[in-house]
Amino acid sequence: MNNLTKRIESAKEKWEAFQKNKEPIIYIGAASCGRAAGAVQLLAQTDRWLKENELAAKVVQVGCIGPCYLEPLVDIQMPGQPRVSYNNVTPKLLPVILGSHVGESVPYAKAAIGHFGKEPLNGIPRFFDLPMLKPQVRVVLRNCGLIDPEQIDQYLAVDGYQGFMNALKTPPDDVIGVVRRAGLRGRGGAGFPTFKKWTACRNAPGNQKYLICNADEGDPGAFMNRSLIESDPHALLEGMLIAGYAIGASHGIVYIRAEYPLAIERLYQAMQQMRDYGLLGEHILDSDFSFDIKVKEGAGAFVCGEETALIGSIEGKRGMPKSRPPFPAISGLFGCPTIINNVETLGTLPNILRNGPDWYNRFGKEGNRGTKTFSLVGKVRRQGLIEVQLGTSLREIIFDIGGGLQKPFKAIQTGGPSGGCLSEEFLDLTVDYESLTAAGSIMGSGGLIVMDEDTCVVDLAKYFLDFTQKESCGKCTPCRVGTRHMVEILTKITHGEGSAEDLLALRTLGDTIKKGALCGLGQTAPNPVLTTLRYFRNEYLEHIKEQRCRAVVCKDLIEYRVIKEKCTGCQSCVKVCPTGAISGPRSEPHNVDKTKCIKCRSCYVTCRFEAIAGDAIVIGSVEKTS
């Protein structure tokens, strides 16, 4: 124990010295999303700039702070000044910012989005006062984007591993008691009370017990777990130590998607640091608790998010679910009692153990305690990773945090392919496990996809069903055959060949699959269809009766036209058309040959952004009379 206390002391000193920096610090948000937005190029450019100008500065790669729409983010902290954040930094803008802020010590207010100090600064707002961040409560994400994820010392300096040390001082049963009083529920989607699962596993006979962290974030449109692991890997690993201690496990496994290479790299690095500090292995911190963690890469199967399928995959088999009971808590991996917790559940634990259950109870509402992270994406203005208290309304999330939409709001999909699509009347619904289930959706792992009138709900339902149908493992008939049949019907409808009976068939099939499927994937697969049928029935009927897609998405029901009056004949669209469907001499209105047009949208996009007189090409879906 002493050894670590010393290390914490020195880490805190280091952190303080780091904060009272003598040389400028430049933070660059370099999680996967930042990298996709160009952070790696900015890193290289910053190094070059510093060398050319013969200036010394520390360049730190940090994780994701949340507002992805501002990526890439570059923060600069000058000695004795607060850290200032610059958004959407381009290679052109970077030298200007560096020149002003690092070169002359004057924050470049024009491009700054916020600062992290306490006092007002040159008219720049405080970062956490920004409309996107102010309503948020950061518990799990508290360190994301603020500390260097590659340095355990920085995590220790912000009270990291304090929660684990508190846990180690009390018997495991008391740790479970703390989690019970905190009211923590599984953040993977179903919301099962964490302590109940743990108690079952703790009381199960057997010497060998396993703890598995489910980081197989398969939901398309969700990236909360990736961000947390990339930005603060130690939070997850500390949570695993706590959970492992509570249930009496000696082995932990992180089952993570192979599509997240950076997160995997950070995990390996963090685990090595833990080993060096005596936080992993035999007799951790000189106690009787021994625990080791392994990383297993998933091989790309959505169904492996299901507990029993995940276990099968780790055992080297096809990832197919088994019927329960026996539950994994009694007989799981290699027949031993096994607990599978989501990344976010585990990432929350250090905070609960550090601050106590009463502190955690301050967040959320009765029965739904704490906070939840969401990836807020789709057609909202401010997209990104957010964390709010349970019980926040959808309206607050979409309009206050997300900043609303450019076009009128149409629907929000919660819970990914297993969730439902909710219409405008549900905007005042509070986000908690029970309310969402009552509306026909689920909490899921936390993807929120906002849609405007350009999204066709029938097409969306087809998209989700197509996804689950492809990912169905094929073990049980309701899921294997039922989803297939539903996709066929939906495809027919989007082609304008549906009939009114098809809607009834979709209902019946959906209800049957829900009742008959073996695992969570099948039981929730019909949700997108059932909810859209309930809340957007008119759109289905339009597709069937009028062969019209009002969102102009379904390809068979739309056509491209040139408005002769607007077209100046600039030939931009002729150049991009891959099939030569558009023709016409320069300076004269062009023509679209409908037999050649593959509806690839290239001309439409070009006409909006490049043509001399824009908006001449339109997409229409008219009522067909046949």
């Binding site: 999303c33 080297g316 789709g378 990773l385 996809i449 949208r601």
Partner: protein
């Protein structure tokens, strides 16, 4: 046994649960799961080749044909779908003249779809080799491909 596969096998113990990590390593090294490597794995782990094919064909990650020079992955996650990911894929199929899941005849590109790359806020995204391109526009795709020969 080719040396590469042999070198991979010795890193893993002979337990059946190591099958997936071994397959992953083989694919990392060779680019695909060759029929010969399956034979070697079968002998090493003492499980049948059928079983190995059964497991490997279950997971989307594994491929059984030699890959092209560049992997081109179009993200079709929900956020990308809502923002036109399917149109991007259609356009690429047209430009390259191959269907999703195939390799171009000149072995320049593998065109694939992925469920989600986790960069949803920057959708639609396309991944070429290791680099992720964000907010891609259909009319800029051909230009993007020019960087990869």
């Amino acid at each position: 046994m080719p040396e590469t596969v042999a070198a991979i096998l010795v890193k893993h113990s002979r337990k059946p649960e190591n099958l997936i990590p071994i397959l992953q390593d083989v694919q990392k090294e060779l680019g695909y799961i060759s029929p010969e490597s399956v034979k070697d794995i079968s002998r090493y782990l003492r499980i049948s080749e059928n079983q190995i094919f059964g497991v490997s064909s279950f997971y989307a990650q594994f491929r059984f044909t030699r890959p092209g020079r560049h992997s081109l992955k179009v993200c079709l996650g929900t956020a990308c779908h809502v923002r036109g990911g399917a149109t991007v894929l259609d356009t690429l199929e047209n430009v390259l003249g191959v269907k999703c899941g195939d390799t171009t005849p000149d072995a320049r590109f593998d065109l694939e779809r992925v469920a989600c790359l986790g960069c949803c806020a920057l959708s639609p995204v396309v991944q070429i080799d290791k680099r992720i391109y964000s907010r891609v526009a259909v009319n800029k795709l051909s230009e993007l491909l020019k960087f990869y020969e």
